[in-house]
Symmetry: C3
Subunit: 146 residues, 3 copies
């Protein structure tokens, strides 16, 4: 299975490297603003960085899940491109949110839209496979014949 | 691999849609109770919705992991059914917790039990595969012969 | 796909069991220190246990992702061993952090190093596969010939 999913795997490893970067930023911020664990509150500058990483962490498993559902059931190429766009959006979200709460909004809408595209691809891909497997119905074939 | 895991994929995509719903509920609650990021504290009504989504997010990767371990190593059908039950339990958990902390308990026990069933399926499935691959021992065959 | 990934699956199921253990510890701590949901603050002893579990949950999807990327694209054996080391490190992290914030540091560095090894394996494995698939270039073959 692995060889033909190398594009998805590359985006996946990039996503992990991005999360590592966000975690390191929180560690530096904890030192800079002297917010020692288990504390998670401090000056607004720290709390924005902490929440930016928490939000990215919260969506990481959702992103990886739809990246692979979309890649395996719809299109690896299109999913990998969307994956890269999402990671770019998340990077800008983290940077923006670190500067100001307002600064997170534009990249948030961008990455949310890309995530919805991946969710859409996943729904279409799984639905088509469902029809093929359980209803022996090739929807695409039918539509192109019509 | 993908065609024969379409049941698991369908439950997986549903799980992602459910997480999207929970996230949107937090965004509406932030507006309704004017709790602007990076703040995460506010009136109890907000904090229950925030924590309900945080708890569901925390268990999402664990659920997806055991759904696929159980589906690939034990039974796709049984795992998909348990997956749907779990998502139903989580939906009631979120709704209940939004109303009151007490309201989360019944659905919590229900979804925890379903999760333990999926963990049990995963343990049995992986153990049987382990015996087959590393000990050339077909435990099921032996038990049915006995 | 499943039979030849049984080692990764075994480590994955162990990781889920470990997360279940951490969650149960938080539930007991909530009772012991009477910190009822949705509250997440209380005596330092509680907050350390709460944060220890939150931190382990935050890295769980990242760990599972690199365990499988490294296992499928680099080496299942080496990845499974690293996986077991990581889970041991996380267990000591949780126990250490529960005792004192300082107590989390040694196991943190240990499990972070193991995670970076898994990330390294993933990068090498995906890069080699990328060269094979898209550049028809067998880097390992070339290096061993040279
Ligand atoms: N969410 C983490 C991200 C960075 C991280 O993993 N930090 C390590 C080293 S400071 C840690 O042990 N954090 C303690 C915690 O998460 O409560 C944090 O808030 O610190
Ligand atoms: N955990 C999130 C769930 C909803 C969400 O993703 N909200 C977006 C738009 S308000 C966000 O940027 N949240 C900031 C944050 O999580 O700190 C939250 O608490 O807000
Ligand atoms: N992160 C959880 C870990 C344990 C857990 O899942 N607890 C259940 C039963 S007390 C719960 O509903 N927690 C409420 C919450 O997470 O806000 C917590 O802080 O409680």
């Amino acid at each position: 299975m692995s060889e033909d999913a190398v594009g998805l795997a590359a985006v996946t490893v990039l996503a992990v490297l991005e999360q590592a970067y966000f975690s390191l930023q929180v560690i530096y911020a904890r030192r800079k603003y002297s917010v020692s664990p288990p504390a998670t509150t401090g000056p607004p500058e720290f709390e924005r960085i902490f929440r930016a990483q928490a939000n990215c962490s919260e969506y990481f498993p959702i992103f990886i899940t739809v990246l692979w559902m979309s890649g395996l059931f719809f299109s690896q190429g299109a999913s990998s491109v969307c994956g890269l766009l999402y990671l770019y959006g998340r990077f800008r979200y983290f940077r923006g949110y670190s500067q100001s709460a307002q600064g997170r909004l534009a990249p948030l809408y961008f990455s949310a839209q890309v995530l919805w595209v991946l969710i859409g691809f996943s729904c279409v891909g799984v639905l088509l496979a469902f029809c093929r497997v359980y209803l022996a119905l090739d929807l695409i074939g039918r539509l192109t014949e019509a």
